[in-house]
């Protein structure tokens, strides 16, 4: 397997502009001869599809939801970063780049991250022109707020629904192209396989989720924008249907999977209440602008939070990290929450929660000002917990939220399978070992609006593609393989439901491949995952048939792929004998409990090549070295 990053040479600030000059173009009258498939219609997919269609390509879009507008990007709450420096607080492209690469604990490519920061401003321009109703100041200009891991205010927002508004902007642009006949849109279709002909991505196999039919789609290029794999943990803030299947099937066809162990655990989520719990709800990080995180100093303190006086409260983030306080990056905040609860200071019925308190902010700014900023989040919290956060502190706890790992891509966002591009959370991305808040929306839209439309054209310009139809044997083989997977699952007819297996898998992952990891725990996890997977194929019960709408059949084959991914994540975490960002190996910590990197041995992207037989993964690790020409690697400090 050859992994060339294809990062252009030259000064950091000029790499992208020089590259744009070198990228090959397809003439306008030739663009319509090329078919491009976009899988997934979240921020990356919808923006890529609309931009490619505007250029003139024949685009088809596929999503599992009943409408392209419902992709999980819609749930992003807090905001989107850009280096506009409107607040005049010293921001710049360099600073956004630097914060992002430092926030990722120096485990991402310099050139990619710099390009992301460069594109950030154009995204805001694009969204505003589409009519995205960002928050504004009384003078009519755009407002900003602060987010974790930065000392400037660079986050643009639309109340607590920034993802919704940005996604609707991209979705509407996409629907405009559907109207123009340039996009054919297929909702309720799930990608089951990638079709590779002569080593190049030439199409996909889907299942029509309404009538169960297996369909073949031919194309000249495939752009995968299918999101992350946080649901391998069963409980996460991801939507219930978010899954790894499309990406995993590409991996099985030869696409390298990079940094699978980098999982972001978000510090501010509503705690788990019982076994029936089906998902976790995020409370936006923006709340940490005004909310103060604390626990009672005395683990045996049973007083109600409002009865606990100031001197008995442990504002652990403010005390331990005076310069960033409650706005430390997510990995640091999550780890500290685990630390204080491990020490018995946790609150609530389960002891697995900490307080996020708005008392002081309400006293300072008034209830109305706080309601204007966070009203919908407070309502959501009250709805779920029956507690009023204006009067009692919220209870929060970390939950799986985002996956930095994903399919390996080069600087052009192309995987190692020519013609297969991967954008948004689905690629291994620009966030290194930890993503900063308000950077996911930025990356999805940067990839979709401003990178993929150029680089797909560059690929097509001299791809030298042979003519292929859906009758080609590669299509037949992939379609048959997809049918077999479904039939096999339906025939097992065991005693345990898919949800029961998934919940058990999630527990293994949370306990042993979650916030902190150890060699011993990871080795145990691998054994347990293998055993559970074996049991799954003997004892799962999948109801109904494949010839009609059957949600539990969809879940079954997604969980089957999660089993393999889970093992790969544990293998990757085991290989990485260091701590970095969200990946905390208990063996490698500073005296103060911070992640201890080993730049000498682990400054690389791990890219895994699939191999597997008899229920056992046999993968091969490839390493893409990370070279830092422009930033100096330092121990990350938010003290």
């Amino acid at each position: 397997m050859k992994l060339e990053s294809n990062v252009p040479s030259g000064p950091l600030e000029e790499k992208w502009s020089r590259h744009l000059k070198d990228l090959k173009l397809v003439a306008p009258n030739n663009k319509r001869k090329y078919k491009v498939i976009v899988v997934g219609t979240g921020l990356a997919g919808a923006s890529a599809a609309s931009s490619l269609a505007e250029l003139g390509y024949e685009v088809s879009t596929f999503c599992i939801q009943d409408s392209a507008r419902r992709a999980h990007s819609i749930a992003a709450q807090g905001g989107i970063n850009a280096a506009k420096n409107y607040p005049n607080d010293g921001d710049s492209v360099w600073r956004l780049f630097y914060d992002t690469i430092k926030g990722g604990d120096y485990r991402s490519r310099e050139a990619n991250v710099y390009r992301l920061a460069q594109n950030s401003n154009s995204i805001i321009d694009q969204a505003v022109a589409q009519g995205v109703p960002f928050a504004r100041e009384y003078g009519g200009l755009l407002d900003n707020r602060s987010f974790g891991g930065a000392q400037v205010s660079r986050t643009f927002y639309a109340r607590g629904q920034t993802g919704q508004q940005l996604l609707l902007g991209a979705y509407q642009s996409m629907m405009r192209q559907v109207h123009a006949g340039k996009i054919k849109n297929y909702p309720r279709h799930e990608m089951l396989d990638l079709v590779v002909v002569d080593g190049k991505a030439r199409g996909i196999i889907t299942r029509n989720l309404v009538d169960g039919s297996i369909n073949r789609w031919q194309a000249d290029s495939v752009v995968l924008c299918t999101g992350g794999y946080g649901n391998v943990f069963y409980l996460s803030t991801n939507a219930k249907n978010s899954n790894v299947t499309a990406a995993w099937r590409c991996h099985k066809r030869g696409a390298a999977f990079a940094n699978p162990c980098y999982v972001q655990i978000h510090p501010t989520c509503i705690p788990v209440s019982g076994d029936y719990q089906s998902k976790l709800t995020l409370m936006s990080e923006s709340l940490r602008n005004d909310g103060r995180v604390w626990v009672p100093r005395d683990p045996d303190d049973s007083r109600k939070p409002n009865d606990i006086p100031e001197e008995d409260r442990y504002y652990y983030l403010e005390e331990r990290y005076p310069s960033f306080g409650n706005l430390v990056p997510r990995d640091v905040a999550s780890r500290n929450a685990k630390m204080v609860t491990d020490e018995g200071m946790g609150v609530g019925e389960t002891g697995l929660a900490v307080y996020l308190d708005f008392r002081d902010a309400i006293k300072r700014e008034g209830r109305d000002a706080i309601a204007a900023k966070y009203g919908n989040l407070f309502d959501m919290y009250q709805n779920i917990t029956d507690d009023n956060p204006y009067e009692v502190p919220m209870r929060i706890f970390p939950a799986v939220h985002y996956t930095m790992g994903g399919l390996w891509v080069d600087y052009n966002l192309m995987s190692n399978i020519p013609g297969l591009f991967v954008a948004g959370e689905a690629n291994f991305s620009d966030h290194g070992a930890n993503r900063l808040g308000a950077s996911a929306l930025m990356q999805g839209l940067s990839d979709g609006y401003f990178i993929v439309p150029y680089t797909v054209g560059n690929y097509l310009a001299d791809a030298d593609l042979t003519s292929v139809t859906t009758e080609h044997e590669a299509f037949s083989e992939a379609a048959n393989a997809s049918t077999e997977v479904l039939d096999k699952l339906l025939q097992i007819n065991g005693d345990k439901t898919v949800v029961e297996f998934h919940r058990e898998l999630g527990k293994i992952m949370w306990d042993k491949v979650g916030i902190s990891r150890s060699k011993e725990g990871l080795e145990e996890a691998i054994e347990e995952i293998r055993a559970l997977r074996e049991e799954f194929y003997q004892n799962v019960r999948v109801p109904g048939e494949s010839s009609y709408y059957n949600k539990y059949l969809e879940f079954a084959h997604r969980v089957a792929d999660f089993f393999e991914l889970a093992e790969l994540m544990a293998l990757d975490a085991l290989d990485r004998d260091e701590s970095c960002g969200c990946h905390l190996r208990e063996e490698y910590q500073t005296e103060e409990g911070e992640a201890l990197r080993n730049d000498k041995d682990y400054s690389y992207v791990s890219a895994w090549e699939y191999g597997g037989a008899n229920g056992k993964l046999e993968t091969t690790l490839h390493k893409e070295p990370l070279e830092f020409e422009f930033v100096e690697l330092k121990q990350r400090s938010y003290k």
């Binding site: 819609i74 749930a75 154009s122 109703p133 639309a158 979705y171 109207h179 309502d379």
Partner: protein, 248 residues
Amino acid sequence: MSEMTINLKVWRQKSANSEGKFQDYKLNGVSEHMSFLEMLDVLNENLIKEGKDPVEFDYDCREGICGSCNLVINGRAHGPKHMTAACQLHMRNYSDGDTIVVEPPRAKAFPIIRDLVVDRTAFDRIIEAGGYVSVKTGAAPEANLIPVEKEKADEAFDYATCIGCGACVAACPNSSASLFTGAKLAHLNSLPQGQPERDKRSVAMVEQMEEEGFGDCSNHAECEAVCPVGISISAIAQMRRDYMKALV
């Protein structure tokens, strides 16, 4: 933690063309902390173990923003709680022994796919007809060159917050999609960015809405009452104004 027994009457229908009926289920051990959809998850786990077909219903984010869930609960879209999507409804709103009727939103323009799952692609086609600002990627001017009064931006946001769930249609005696269509028109037509295409958009979206088989609005305001994000019915007044203005 108190546990309840809940009696369910759930609409079961195999496909668009087959006949449907209500099926009774008795569910024990329901926790007050469960969400309504988690209660249905538990029902489905039981059904699967009994070798029966689970109840199909749409959901995804389970935090009230994706608009996938659209259950009609005891005759009310999204159930009893004001400004709350079905996925955000919790069982603490019910008591031990309650009977709950669950059915799909019923409208000609939303054909049933299976059980509680319906086809809402008509909404996509209404947006497709004109629910956008025609701006190509890369053609946008610097963002702060387009100042928008804060009040106007906030009002546009209030309309833009529609989650496209279809509760408005389910609640309307005419199965009208006026609140959905009006919300998108009010969002875009009230912003400076939306002005150049205002007339064209208003006519195209209203006509598409009619073509899809949704009824007209006769001011019952049931839509506003059930809207999980509180879209105001004044969206419909503005839609009519904009539509009329565009025609004269």
